[in-house]
Each structure stands twice: as structure tokens, then as C-alpha cells.
């Protein structure tokens, strides 16, 4: 799985015995000594941070599942009971809720890093595609999980999102009701959402295995995008990157802890403290912050089906990205013009996130919010479908360094 010649030599009789039968220690040892490019910067620490997020969410989630009751009459109360009566429930519940936000914060950083440094390009297409699968599964898991506390936002979020399926021609309504297990979001919906919310993280863990396997097979990308050529260009994963990732993880945990202890509700919505009421929709429903850009894209189009297709397209386009970008140069460092387009792309994503939270008619700097969303949506798609394919053909990249080592030493001098 590690994709480099093994250097592990079992020392003891027992480990020799085991190595012949199940080389599991060898696998771990090879993982730890994996030759990583020596020039990886802090943007590369998010893989480790994300692994931690996944493990933390699974552990706190299993704990919450021990106390949570997936029934419409008791779900909200059981969450309150967790926060009031279960030993340390007041700590574990916000760890899980804030953890979801932290997970997305890290995954978005990780994805922007991959985009900037061209980590999706040959021979790493499978790494990127598995990453996109993980992202999709995370969105599903996040959405299902947000339904479980059974507050107003849970209920109406579930109603709106499952409504997307209702927009599909002909089969839409039957499909939606099949998903819900009824005419509307109700107890059967909550039950199956709970079951799936428990299942999907383990599917994510499996796909993470494939993601890492593909990455180790192709080798890690690095900030200059030039493949390692000699032994000098790489360092053993341990201790060099374990300690670097470790430092980054602790800094990340500082942010995580700040929210858990001091702002546990800041990333959620006050309306979710109101028990789900199928008779009254909150005046202003918004999804969790990490879905806001897609929500803005959805609302940018006045047609229901088109809006949904566009939103789905915004994610689908990521899957074909490796074939859209025509440039052979990976890192934006050597593509000065495309780099500017990329920065604009990041800004467009933030604009979408911002306007996803606003009411479409609200004026911002004299322009209705929905027009901001439309402009940013247009740019979002143009970046992938026009700018990247064209820039690869017309832009003359800067000269690439000969090797990682040369670039490192050159920069230092």
C-alpha cells in the first residue's frame, strides 16, 4: 500500500513469524518511512488534520448514539438530556457539533490546496476523485446529522433538501416519498437518517483508505509540482512530517477548543433550539455554513430543476477537473496569470457563501443579493469550464526548477 521499497526488517522471532503470515507491522513501518517530498508546506498538514477530524467525529458520534433517541417525540429532549444529565454530555455534544464545522473547514482548505498546487493532475487523478467521493459522503453525513437534533432547522432543512429529489421529472415525487418513508419528513425519515448517519462515516473511512493508497502509489505532490528525482528530494514521513503535522494539529485543536468551550452555538443556528414544528416554517431558513455556497448557486436560478442541476453540476465538475485543466504544470506558482484567476475563484466561493446566508432580495452595495450570487456562480463554472482549459493552452508558465532540492537550496540562497 505504501508504494516504495520496504526497508522493514523484523528483529524478533515473533515479528519474523508474523511478517511471513500477515505483514501488518511492515505495512505500518513502510507507512511511517514513506519518502515524502522535503518541501511540503503547512497546507499539506490538512490531510493529517482531517484524519483526526474523522476519528474524533466517529468517537464522539458513537458516544452520542448511546444516549440519543431517534424518535420525533424524544429526539430533541434526548439531546437536551445529553447536555444536562449525561456525564460529560455537555462537553461531548458540542465537540461533535462543532467538530462537523471544523471537519468542513479543514476539508475546504485541503481542497483549495489541491486546486492551487494542481494535485489532481496525472498521475493523481484517482487521489482527487476519491477525495471528491469523500467530500460528497461528508456532505451527506453532515446533512443527515443536522437533522437528528430535530430542531426547526433540522426539520425544514430536511424538508428542503429532500425536496430536491422531488424536482426530478416523472419519478421525482415517488422518489422523494420513498426517501422520506411518508408524505413528509416524519418519524420514519428520522429513523433512517439516523441509521445512515451512523453508517456513512465508516464508508468515508474506507474511501479515505483508497485515497491514501492512491496517493502513496502515485507519490505525494509538492508545492513546486516537480516529482522527486533523487533520495535527496524526499524525507522519511516519520519523524519529519509526523512532527510537522503534529504541530499543525495542535494549532488546529486550539481553534476547535475555542469554539467548543466559548462559542459552541456560533456555527449553528438559534432556530435549531426550537423543537421541530411541521406547522410553522422559520422565517429565514439557511443551511449550515458549509453548504451556503451551494445554496447560493441553487437560488441563483429562478427555475427549480435548473437550480438543482446547477448545484449538482457545481460538485460534478470537480470530478472531471483533471481532464479540464489542460496545463501540464501543476503548481500555480509557475502560472502567474492562472494564479490570479484562482484567487478570484476563491473570492467567488466566499461571495457564494456570504450570499447563501442572505435573503435573495436583500441589497448589498446597491445590488440585490441574488445578482451577486449569479455573478459568482457564473465565475465558478467559467473557472472550471473555460479559464482552466484555455489558460493551459495560452499561458506560458515560468521555468520550472530542475528538482525539489535545487529549488529549496536556490530559494534559501
Amino acid at each position: 500500500m505504501s508504494g516504495h521499497p520496504s526497508t522493514y526488517e523484523p528483529k524478533y522471532a515473533a515479528s519474523k513469524w508474523l511478517d511471513k503470515r500477515l505483514p501488518i507491522i511492515r505495512m505500518g513501518a513502510d507507512f511511517m518511512t514513506y519518502p515524502s517530498p522535503r518541501n511540503l508546506n503547512y497546507w499539506w498538514t490538512f490531510g493529517g488534520i482531517l484524519s483526526l477530524c474523522l476519528v474524533a467525529q466517529i468517537i464522539t458520534g458513537i458516544i452520542l448514539a448511546m444516549h440519543y433517541v431517534p424518535h420525533v417525540d424524544m429526539a430533541f429532549d434526548s439531546v437536551q438530556r445529553i447536555k444536562r444529565d449525561v456525564p460529560f454530555g455537555w462537553l461531548i455534544q458540542p465537540m461533535h457539533a462543532v467538530g462537523a464545522s471544523m471537519f468542513f473547514l479543514a476539508v475546504y482548505t485541503h481542497m483549495f490546496r489541491g486546486l492551487y498546487y494542481g494535485s489532481y493532475k496525472a498521475p493523481r487523478e484517482m487521489v482527487w476523485i476519491f477525495g471528491c467521493v469523500i467530500y460528497l459522503l461528508m456532505m451527506a453525513t453532515g446533512f443527515l446529522g443536522y437533522t437528528l437534533p430535530w430542531g426547526q432547522m433540522s426539520f425544514w432543512g430536511a424538508t428542503v433538501i429532500t425536496g430536491f429529489f422531488g424536482a426530478i421529472p416523472i419519478v421525482g415525487e415517488s422518489l422523494q416519498q420513498w426517501l422520506l418513508g411518508g408524505f413528509a419528513v416524519d418519524n420514519p425519515t428520522l429513523n433512517r437518517f439516523f441509521a445512515l448517519h451512523y453508517l456513512l462515516p465508516f464508508v468515508i473511512a474506507a474511501v479515505v483508505g483508497l485515497h491514501v493508497w492512491a496517493m502513496h502509489h502515485a507519490g505525494q505532490n509538492n508545492p513546486i509540482g516537480v516529482e522527486p528525482k533523487s533520495k535527496e528530494d524526499t524525507l522519511s514521513f516519520h519523524p519529519y512530517y509526523t512532527v510537522k503535522d503534529g504541530f499543525a494539529v495542535v494549532v488546529f485543536l486550539l481553534i476547535f477548543a475555542f469554539f467548543v468551550f466559548y462559542q459552541p452555538d456560533a456555527l449553528g443556528h438559534a432556530d435549531n433550539y426550537i423543537k421541530a414544528d411541521p406547522m410553522a416554517t422559520p422565517p429565514h431558513i439557511v443551511p449550515e455554513w458549509y453548504f451556503l455556497p451551494f445554496y447560493a448557486i441553487l437560488r441563483a436560478v429562478p427555475d427549480k430543476l435548473m437550480g438543482i442541476l446547477l448545484m449538482v453540476g457545481a460538485i460534478a465538475v470537480l470530478f472531471i477537473l483533471p481532464w479540464l485543466d489542460t496545463s501540464k504544470v501543476r503548481s500555480m506558482r509557475f502560472r502567474p496569470v492562472t494564479r490570479l484567476w484562482f484567487i478570484l475563484f476563491v473570492i467567488a466561493c466566499f461571495i457564494l457563501g456570504w450570499h447563501g446566508a442572505l435573503s435573495p432580495d436583500q441589497p448589498v452595495m446597491g445590488v440585490k443579493s441574488v445578482w451577486w450570487s449569479r455573478a459568482a456562480t457564473l465565475y465558478y463554472f467559467a473557472f472550471f469550464l473555460v479559464i482552466l482549459p484555455v489558460m493551459g493552452l495560452i499561458e506560458k508558465p515560468k521555468e520550472l526548477p530542475e528538482s525539489i532540492t535545487k529549488s529549496v537550496l536556490g530559494e534559501a540562497s
Binding site: 444529565d85 456525564p87 460529560f88 461531548i92
Partner: protein
Amino acid sequence: MSNHTNTSHENIDEDKRDFIYIATGAVAAAGAAALAWPLVMQMGKAADTLAAGAIEIDLSKISEGQQLKMLWRGKPVFVRHRTSGEIAEAEAVDVADLKDPQTDDQRLVATPGGKLDPKYLVMVGVCTHFGCIPVGEQGKVDAQGQYGGWYCPCHGSHYDTSGRIRKGPAPKNLEIPPYEYLSDTVIKVG
């Protein structure tokens, strides 16, 4: 000379580095251990479970030879109004012969007057073997075991009229719950 100084400097550096690694590892391990505490303790009894109320039982409503069964903290509590024959039988047993030696008096709680009332036996109705509920209905001798008290059908433990284990795999006498007399005829369990 200069070579020598260099070497000793390196040794000092080496020591410093080792210290940093050990300190970092130790602090990280301590943090992980501290984090494990709430993650494990959450499975303990929750505050609402601990607060589960005490129950009051009016003894005067139980006629002689009858047994009342009530749920307390998720387990049945047996209150038996014993006949004088059963009391005599319980008191006549030689404590030295018992697996879990206890006199009948030791299994009772004083009334407000300071005396013991052997008529009423209060026990947690859970076999001390593996937690089944023993049977002991009046009038059915085969359902009371060989010692006229209770019989656990799961693995065949026999309890006498004081709820003491006499035969079978159970290691202990039937447990006496914490209870007190509020008056001569009302007790509060828990």
C-alpha cells in the same frame, strides 16, 4: 581542544533535544489520557438516573403470607409478610451452616420504636447468581424451593424464608435494599 568542545556541545544539544521530545510526548500523552476520562465516564449513571425517586410502600396492605412486588431502580423489590411458621423457620437455622452467614435479624431494619418487626421481609428480588428473578408464590411448594422461601428457575438456586442462599450456584443471600420505616406500617425504599 576545539574538537573536544564541539563534541561536548553536541552532547548538550543532544540532551536538550531528547528533553524536548520526551516532554512533548509526555504532555501529549497526558492530554490524551485526560481526554479519555470524559469519553469513558459518559457511560456512567446520568444525573436523572441517579435521581430516580425513592418509593414508599404501605405494609398494612399486605396480608399475612402474601408478597408484594414493586419496581425500584429498574429492579423488583419483594416485600413478604411472613407467617409465624416462616419466621420461626428462619430464626431456627444454624448460621454456621450457611454459605453467606447472616442471622434473620441482620436482614431486618428497625421500626421507629427501635425494635425489629420480623413479619416484614424486604429484599431486592434478583438472584445473586446471574440476575434472574426468583419465584416464591404462596401455596405452590414447588415454586418456593426446598427451603420454603424462593427458588430461582434459571439455574436452580434455593433461598430460605429469610432470603438466604441454601442450595444452588448463587453465592450470596438476596440483597436487602436501603430502606427505612417512616411509621410502623410505611417504609421508604431508596
